[in-house]
Amino acid sequence: MIRQANCTWLLVLATVISGCASRGDYANVPVEEAGSQSGAVYESSGYPPRSEPDQRYPVPDYSEPDFPPPPSYDKPAQAPAAASTNSAVIALLSASQQQRQQGQYQQAAATLERAIRISPRNGKLYYELAQVRYLEGNYQQSKQLCRKAISLAAGDKPLLERSRLLLSELPD
């Protein structure tokens, strides 16, 4: 398992890993890309300065029961699933893939868990972990991880399809 990853290496990997990178330049990546496009910023919920008066409760309209609640708690505008494709996660993801290919399943799993800690709502990471568990012969966990990936996939069709495919191959 790696504790640090070279950025130039990341640059290359970032473009290689499917679905992860839409831009090439990872040298000055902002926190999240996918999330900020949609407006549903998951990775960084901004903490506006406390002095803004409209941050104070009560918001008058709010207590009226016949008014809809704000969109942020209502229908989530966009799934945050792919929000956390930051460089650290990409680095860990690719490191885990290497470890997996070399048959180092324990290390691969540990690397993925490290990535999950950074980006716990990234369905792709759970799918990757499901693959590792599958190779280890831990079908039970593999299945559960596939389900977790599916529950987080929201709109990520390739991820949804791959997770379903793996799930269908797992014995009951």
Binding site: R3, D66, F67
Partner: protein
């Protein structure tokens, strides 16, 4: 040394055998010699004496080598916090990094010159890290540069190279000690600064490198000095003898023991090199008392007194540590700074006299303050509640003696920064409440559990108002009635039957009377003593209506609700009484956290984990505790529940939380209050953090706080400090959002008055359409205010 072990045992065995044969021989000879009269008797006695002495020497020799080459000390398991991860794109307050570095004992400098230092300048921090061996990998000492922009890490380099992420070394947060509470951090001689060794030898045993274990010259001198003074003022013990005394023997001062000590010292010296003996001495020596823990060895001593590793010690600090050998409590620098200072300067003078340091070095060191860390960074049980949880989780896999003797390294998920914030949130809120409500809150107690929402890792645990006190761990052991905190299980049971129950289903909140098995009547009342008639399901939960909930629960069947609780991870067997529906059942804060964890993680049950991995003292991995999931509840139903739990925070009993937390922070949670305001609960989660708070009195008397006036305030204070991410519930595929009329629950339109957008499990949407009254203007205005 460990590699020598097999040969040792054979050698010991080989030596023991001749001894046995010799004594057998002597017993055979005995009868013949008796006839030779007095002379013969004397010869015989002398022979016996020689043989006995030989036997003793052989025996002592075996003892000396056996213990010295075996595992010399039982080492307590060391418990580490999580390493702080740094990565580009991370939301990070540099003050937190600085706080972490301070806890790790890093020194703030203007320039980096060696490991264990950092330089802080505006939005940049430079760190010269120490090397560290994780359970799976090692990192060398490196120069790390971290830059942030608007509290987000914008660049990270290690030794000048840009990297994606980097882990700092983890904080050592405690140990698991054996009964005698002897603690040490083993060091190797090569890591000990030369001036420390010089000082020790100069002060304690000048002829250490030339004598053979005992020093007749030193003994003679000591006797002379003592005779002159008429009392024992000077000891003639060599370092070797001191080691033998502490390492092998008890502390009784009999002459016999002195003799044994001398023989063993000579033997030790004969078998082992000076460096080996010195290293053992450095690790054995007693240097002070940290509460119930005995601080042994210079490695731990250095941490205990200076908060830094031995290789980082300066001359004046090394001299102080050496001073302590003579009397750790008499020269305790924290309690008797003047004595310690005088003794330290004497040590420095001796070094100078022996030409081991220059006069100017001695002068400079003498002018330095004692430099003892004000609060020991390695003080006893700073995190007693958390280490308690770690111990309990370890006991499933390890024997107690392994935990206290093998020097295992336990890597946990404790986040010291979150822990700090959790402790402060509890104590500051308690103080504020006491200030507002008076002295009746003085004896109020509390507990807090903070976990990572999706992974189930326990990040912080507070077991009481005085978190440094390792007493009753309320987070694990206070089994208290949970009140309305249990209600989500009732509503989830309903929502998993989408054909029968939707968020918009109207529930009857009129008074209810239930006849119990024993003939008693159960008549739960709403907290506001009012009836609310027909209320939508989501609002009945958000406002925590007891009458509606009891009726719903009875309709669903108590056993079905209990099954839901089980699915959510509540392992405790619960009685099938109607009052369970309103939380008349005891659980610990950790159990409540485990229940909410499953809700927060979208219906996936994850055992709450404190431990990530365990390795041997040498760094060999032993156990990993990986992420384990099990889907227990349909994610669609959980999504609907998330809606109602967010409504609780936006419109219901939890809404006061937004008085200080930002409006755009998504929160889901539930308050809980028990009869006569005895228990105040709040359980809630954001995008990345889940926290459960309990407040109450240990004697179960009323504390006078509801869930929202007590526990929620602590939760709010915690979240203000840790700045969590917003909770956004994932929309599973079987979920469809519809605009419905809030009063009737019928389909409506986006621009209709009284319409709200509500999720439904596909196929369960209401069929009828309500009359749409235009409310365009107001809705439009309202939306504008949000964007």
């Amino acid at each position: 040394m460990a590699s020598k072990k097999p040969t040792t045992t054979t050698r010991t065995a080989a030596k023991k055998k001749p001894a046995a044969t010799k004594s057998r021989k002597s017993s055979v000879k005995k009868p013949k010699k008796v006839r030779s009269g007095w002379k013969g008797l004397l010869v015989k006695l002398a022979l016996i004496a020689v043989l006995l002495t030989t036997g003793l020497v052989v025996y002592l020799d075996a003892w000396v080598t056996d213990k010295f080459e075996g595992k010399r000390w039982s080492l307590p398991a060391q418990v580490y916090a999580r390493p702080l991860e740094l990565y580009v794109g991370q939301s990070l307050d540099l003050r937190d990094v600085q706080a972490e570095l301070e806890m790790l004992g890093y020194r703030k400098r203007y320039q980096l010159s060696k490991p264990g230092q950092y330089v802080e300048s505006g939005n940049r921090i430079d760190i010269y890290t120490r090397s560290f061996r994780f359970w799976d990998t090692s990192t060398p000492a490196q120069r790390v540069r971290l830059r942030t922009q608007n509290s987000v890490v914008s660049s990270l380099t290690v030794d000048g190279q840009a990297v994606g992420l980097f882990s700092l070394e983890p904080l050592l947060v405690g140990g698991i000690y054996p009964a005698h509470n002897e603690d040490r951090l083993l060091i190797q001689l090569e890591n000990v600064p030369q001036f420390l060794v010089d000082a020790l030898v100069t002060v304690e045993d000048k002829n250490f490198y030339s004598h053979h274990g005992v020093s007749p010259k030193a003994i003679a001198r000591a006797m002379w000095v003592n005779a002159k003074a008429g009392r024992a003022v000077q000891g003639g013990s060599t370092l070797t003898q001191q080691l033998v005394k502490n390492f092998y023997l008890s502390s009784d001062r009999s002459l016999l023991r002195k003799g044994t000590e001398a023989i063993m010292s000579v033997l030790l010296d004969a078998h082992y090199g000076k460096d080996e003996i010195l290293e053992a001495y450095l690790n054995e020596v007693y240097l002070g008392q940290a509460g119930r823990r005995a601080v042994h060895g210079f490695g731990l001593g250095s941490q205990y007194y200076f908060g830094r590793s031995i290789s980082e010690l300066k001359l004046h600090q090394a001299a102080l540590l050496v001073s302590l050998v003579k009397g750790p409590s008499y020269y305790n620098p924290r309690r008797h700074p003047e004595r310690a200072r005088t003794r330290r300067n004497l040590v420095l003078t001796m070094l100078e006299q022996d030409g081991l340091i220059t006069a100017s070095e001695a002068r400079a060191a003498k002018s330095k303050p004692l430099d003892v860390a004000a609060k020991s960074s390695y003080s006893e049980a700073v995190y007693p509640a958390y280490v308690d949880l770690v111990k309990r989780q370890l006991q499933r896999d390890y024997r107690p003696e392994d935990l206290t003797s093998e020097g295992l390294r336990i890597f946990t998920s404790l986040d010291p920064l979150v822990q700090r914030d959790a402790e402060r949130a509890l104590s500051s809120t308690a103080t504020r409440l006491e200030h507002q409500r008076g002295d009746q809150l003085k004896k109020m107690q509390g507990a807090l559990v903070v976990t990572s929402t999706d992974t189930g890792e326990v990040l912080a645990l507070v077991g009481g108002k005085n978190s440094k006190y390792s007493g009753f761990n309320r987070a694990l052991d206070a089994i208290r009635p949970v009140g309305s905190v249990i209600k989500p299980a009732v509503y989830l049971t309903a929502l998993t039957q989408p054909r029968l129950y939707q968020l918009t289903t109207l529930l009857d909140d009129s008074p209810i009377t239930i006849e119990l098995a024993n003939g008693d009547l159960w008549e739960p009342k709403n907290a506001d003593k009012k009836d609310h008639g027909q209320v939508p399901l989501h609002r009945a939960l958000a406002h925590s209506y007891n009458q509606a909930t009891a009726r719903l629960g009875m309709e669903l069947g108590i056993n079905n609700v209990l099954q839901t609780l089980k699915n959510l991870g509540v392992e405790r067997p619960l009685p099938a009484y109607p009052s369970v529906l309103l939380g008349a059942v005891g659980m610990s804060p950790l159990e409540v956290a485990s229940m909410y964890q499953t809700l927060a993680a979208g219906g996936f049950d994850t055992p709450l984990r404190a431990i990530r991995a365990v390795s041997t003292a040498e760094g060999e991995p032993l156990n990993r505790y990986p992420l384990q999931l099990e889907q227990k509840v349909d994610p669609g139903a959980v999504h609907l529940l998330h809606y109602a739990l967010q409504a609780t925070m936006r419109e219901g009993t939890g809404r006061s939380v937004y008085a200080s937390l930002p409006e755009n922070l998504g929160i889901a949670g539930k308050t809980g209050t028990t009869d006569d305001l005895r228990d105040s609960w709040f359980a809630g989660f954001t995008g990345d953090r889940l926290a459960v708070v309990w407040l109450g009195n240990d004697d179960n008397s009323p504390v006078g706080l509801s869930g929202s006036s007590g526990a929620l305030k602590v939760w709010q204070s915690l979240m203000l400090r840790i700045k969590p991410q917003s909770f956004v519930s994932n929309v599973p595929e079987n979920i469809n959002y519809q605009w419905v009329d809030d009063e009737s629950g019928l389909l409506s339109g986006k621009l209709c008055k009284g319409a709200r957008q509500v999720p439904f499990v596909r196929g369960s949407e209401p069929g009828e359409k309500s009359r749409c009254a235009p409310g365009f203007e107001r809705v439009g205005d309202w939306i504008k205010s949000w964007f």
